[in-house]
C-alpha cells in the first residue's frame, strides 16, 4: 500500500510554482491573519487591521508587477491544469486589487461614522478578493465556480453588514436569494457542459471537437450565461442591482460595482471566449441582444432617479452593457479593450463613490441629489474632482472613460461586421443620453443653492488617498494610455 502511494506521488506532479501564486498567498494569508489578530486589538490599535489590509493589497500588487516584469510571456498551468496564470489573469487580478485597495481606503472612517465593527469587514473584503482572483485564474470550471461562490458569500454578508438598517437587510436577503438561484443555474450549466464534453477543464472543453452544435452543450452554455449574466447585472438579470446597491452601505456598493463585476466578466471571458469558442456564432447573437438591452435599459432608468447612489447603480448596469460589446466582438483585441475598460471603470466609479461617501458622512445627510446642492461653491476643488469623475463616466476626453469606450468601440468596428457597427452606434447614442444624468449632479452641485448653510465635509487621510489614486488613474488612463501599452498587447490565449 505504501509503495503504491509512493509511485503515485512520483508519477504525478502538481507543477506548483509558489512565486507566481504569491498574490493569492498574500491575500488569503492576510485574510486569515486579520481574523486571528482582531480579538487581541482594543481601542485605537484596531487601526492595525486596516493598515495591514491595505499593505497586503499593495504587496500583492507589487508581486504581480514583479511576476509581470520577470516573466513577460508567462503561461503556466498549475495544480493539474486547474489553475492558469498568464498575463491576462494577472492583469485581471491587478484590477481587482486596485478596486479592493480603494475600498479599504474609503472604508475606515465611514465604518466608524456608521458604527460598523471593522475587523470582519476587512477580512471579508480580502476573502472576496481571493475568490475573484480564483475566478480570473481558473483553468477548470469547478475552480471558477468555487471562486465565484467565495466572492458571492462575502458580498451577501457585506451587503447586510449595516445590521440595524432595514434597507441593508433587504439588500442582503435579496442578493442572497437571487444570487443562490443564479449560482444554481451556473452549476447546472457546468454539469451540462460536462455531460457534453466529459471534462470540466476550460482548455479541454474547446479541444473536444466532436461535440459541435450539440444541444447538450447549448443548454449548458445558456444556463452558464444566465448565471454569469446575473453576476454582471446584464438585463434581464439585473433586477437585484438597484435595491442591493442602494440598500448596502455605500463603501460596499463601491466595492461591489468594481471588483466583483470585473471578476464576473473575467469568468465570462474564460467560459465564452476560451471554453465555448466552438459555439461562437450562437453566443454572439445572444450576447448582442444582452448588450443592447443592458446599456439601453440601464441608461433610461438612470435618468429618472433622484438618489445619486441609485443613479450610479443603474449607470453600472449600462456600463456592463458597454463591456459586453467586447464579448460580442470575440477578438483578442476586444478582450483586451474590455479589460482596459474594466480598469477605467474601477478607478472612475470608485472615485465617484468616494465623493458620494464624503457627502454622506456628514450629520443628517443622505445620498439624494439635494445633498450635493451648494457643495461646488463650498468646496470648489472637490466639485471639480467630482465633475471629472462624472465626465469620465459619461465618456468624454481626456478621461479614462473616453479611452476605455474608444478602445472597445474601435475593436468592435475593426471586426467589420454590420451588426457590431449597429451595436456601437447604439452605444454612442446611449453615452450621449447618459450625459444628462451624470451632469445633473454637477449642475446641482454648482448651481443650486442649499436650503441651509452647507454642512462641512470631513477630509480623512484614507479618503484623500483614495481620491488621489482614483483621480490619478482616471486622468492617466485617459491622457496617456501608452504607458499601459503592455495592457493592449495582452491577448487571451
Amino acid at each position: 500500500m505504501q509503495e503504491s502511494v509512493k509511485t503515485i506521488l512520483e508519477n504525478f506532479s502538481l507543477n506548483i510554482d509558489l512565486v507566481t501564486l504569491m498574490p493569492e498567498i498574500i491575500i488569503c494569508g492576510m485574510a486569515l491573519l486579520t481574523m486571528i489578530l482582531e480579538p487581541f486589538l482594543k481601542g485605537d490599535s484596531r487601526k492595525v487591521v486596516m493598515h495591514l489590509t491595505w499593505l497586503s493589497i499593495v504587496a500583492a500588487l507589487i508581486s504581480i508587477y514583479s511576476i509581470w516584469t520577470s516573466q513577460p510571456n508567462l503561461q503556466s498551468l498549475q495544480f493539474a491544469d486547474a489553475y492558469r496564470i498568464d498575463s491576462y489573469s494577472l492583469l485581471f487580478k491587478a484590477v481587482f486589487l486596485i478596486g479592493s485597495l480603494l475600498t479599504v481606503f474609503i472604508s475606515s472612517n465611514f465604518l466608524k461614522f456608521k458604527n460598523v465593527p471593522d475587523g470582519e469587514f476587512y477580512s471579508l473584503i480580502l476573502f472576496a478578493t481571493f475568490g475573484m482572483m480564483n475566478m480570473a485564474s481558473a483553468g477548470d470550471l469547478i475552480v471558477l465556480f468555487i471562486g465565484l461562490e467565495i466572492m458571492s458569500l462575502c458580498l451577501y454578508v457585506l451587503a447586510g453588514i449595516l445590521r440595524r438598517s432595514v434597507y441593508a437587510n433587504e439588500a442582503s436577503l435579496k442578493y442572497f436569494l437571487m444570487g443562490a438561484f443564479a449560482s444554481g443555474f451556473l452549476m447546472f450549466g457546468i454539469a451540462f457542459i460536462y455531460g457534453a464534453t466529459g471534462t470540466t477543464s476550460i482548455v479541454d472543453v474547446i479541444q473536444s471537437s466532436e461535440i459541435l452544435s450539440n444541444t447538450y452543450l447549448i443548454i449548458g452554455a445558456a444556463m452558464v450565461m444566465i448565471g454569469l449574466g446575473f453576476k454582471v447585472g446584464a438585463v434581464p438579470f439585473h433586477m437585484w442591482i438597484p435595491d442591493v446597491y442602494t440598500g448596502s452601505i455605500t463603501n460596499v456598493t463601491a466595492f461591489m460595482s468594481a471588483g466583483p463585476k470585473a471578476a464576473a466578466f473575467a469568468a465570462f471571458f474564460q467560459v465564452f471566449i476560451v471554453a465555448l469558442r466552438p459555439l461562437q456564432s450562437e453566443i454572439e447573437v445572444v450576447l448582442w441582444i444582452l448588450s443592447a438591452l443592458t446599456m439601453t435599459l440601464g441608461n433610461i432608468l438612470a435618468i429618472t432617479q433622484n438618489d445619486v447612489k441609485r443613479m450610479l447603480a443603474y449607470s453600472s448596469i449600462s456600463h456592463a452593457g458597454y463591456v459586453l460589446i467586447a464579448l460580442v466582438a470575440f477578438t483578442p483585441a476586444a478582450t483586451t479593450a474590455g479589460l482596459y475598460y474594466l480598469l477605467c471603470y474601477t478607478v472612475m466609479n470608485i472615485g465617484a463613490f468616494t465623493v458620494l461617501i464624503m457627502v454622506e458622512a456628514r450629520e443628517n445627510s443622505d445620498t439624494n441629489f439635494s445633498s450635493f446642492a451648494g457643495m461646488g461653491r463650498r468646496y470648489p476643488f472637490l466639485g471639480i474632482l467630482l465633475t471629472i469623475f462624472m465626465i469620465s463616466l459619461a465618456g468624454f476626453p481626456p478621461t479614462a472613460g473616453f479611452m476605455g469606450k474608444f478602445l472597445v468601440f474601435k475593436s468592435a468596428i475593426d471586426t467589420g461586421s454590420t451588426s457590431l457597427i449597429v451595436l456601437v452606434v447604439l452605444a454612442v447614442v446611449n453615452s450621449l443620453v447618459s450625459v444628462y444624468y451624470y451632469l445633473r449632479v454637477v449642475v446641482v452641485m454648482f448651481m443650486v443653492e442649499p436650503e441651509l448653510e452647507y454642512r462641512p465635509i470631513n477630509f480623512a487621510t484614507g479618503i484623500i488617498a483614495a481620491l488621489v489614486i482614483s483621480m490619478g488613474g482616471t486622468l492617466l488612463l485617459g491622457i496617456y494610455p501608452q504607458i499601459f501599452a503592455f495592457f493592449l498587447n495582452t491577448a487571451l490565449i
Binding site: A128, I142, L153, C154
Partner: protein, 171 residues
C-alpha cells in the same frame, strides 16, 4: 439497458421520489413538507446506489438527510407555532412557472435523447472505470482536483465568518 430487478427498482424509486417531491411543494403544513423532503432525498440516494455510485449515496444520506433536513426540521419546530400554520405554497406566478418547467424538461429530454456522446437513450454504460468508485474518487480529489478541494475550505471559512457577522450580538 434497464432490465429485470433493476428496472423494477428504478421505477419504484422514481415513483416515490416524484410523489414525495410533489408533496414537498404542495402540502400546506410546513412540518409535513420537511418530512417529505427527507423521503425525496432518501430516494435520490437510492438512485445513486442503482447507478453504482455508492460514495455519492452515502454522502447524500449523511449531508442532505442527516444534516440539512434535520436542521430544517429543528428550525421549523423551534419557531413558535410555525408547525400549526397552514401556509399557501403557490402564488399567482405558479402557472407560468409550471409552463417554463415543463418546457425545460422537454428540452432536457430532447437533449439527452439526441446526445451523441452519451449515445442517446439508453445511456451507454461507462466501462472505463476500474476498481471501486470511492477509491477512484479519492484519488481524483487528491490529485486532479486538489486545488478545488483545498479552496473549498476557504469558502467554508468565509461562510462561517459571514454567519457570525450576521448573527452575533451587538456589544
Amino acid at each position: 439497458m434497464l432490465e429485470g430487478s433493476t428496472a423494477i427498482a428504478f421505477y419504484i424509486i422514481s415513483f416515490v421520489m416524484i410523489l414525495s417531491a410533489i408533496a414537498v411543494v404542495t402540502l400546506k403544513n410546513i412540518f409535513h413538507a420537511a418530512l417529505f423532503l427527507v423521503l425525496t432525498l432518501f430516494a435520490v440516494a437510492a438512485l445513486y446506489i442503482l447507478l453504482s455510485a455508492e460514495f455519492l449515496a452515502a454522502v447524500q444520506v449523511l449531508i442532505y438527510v442527516g444534516a440539512i433536513s434535520i436542521l430544517m426540521i429543528f428550525a421549523v419546530m423551534l419557531t413558535a407555532q410555525l408547525t400549526n400554520y397552514n401556509i399557501k405554497q403557490t402564488n399567482e406566478q405558479s402557472l407560468p412557472a409550471l409552463l417554463i418547467s415543463v418546457c425545460f424538461i422537454g428540452i432536457t429530454i430532447f437533449a439527452i435523447a439526441t446526445n451523441n456522446k452519451l449515445g442517446g437513450f439508453p445511456i451507454k454504460e461507462n466501462t472505463e472505470i476500474a476498481g471501486s468508485n470511492t477509491a477512484n474518487l479519492g484519488q481524483l480529489l487528491m490529485r486532479d482536483f486538489i486545488l478545488p478541494f483545498e479552496v473549498v475550505s476557504v469558502l467554508l471559512l468565509a461562510a462561517l465568518i459571514g454567519a457570525i457577522v450576521i448573527a452575533k450580538r451587538d456589544n
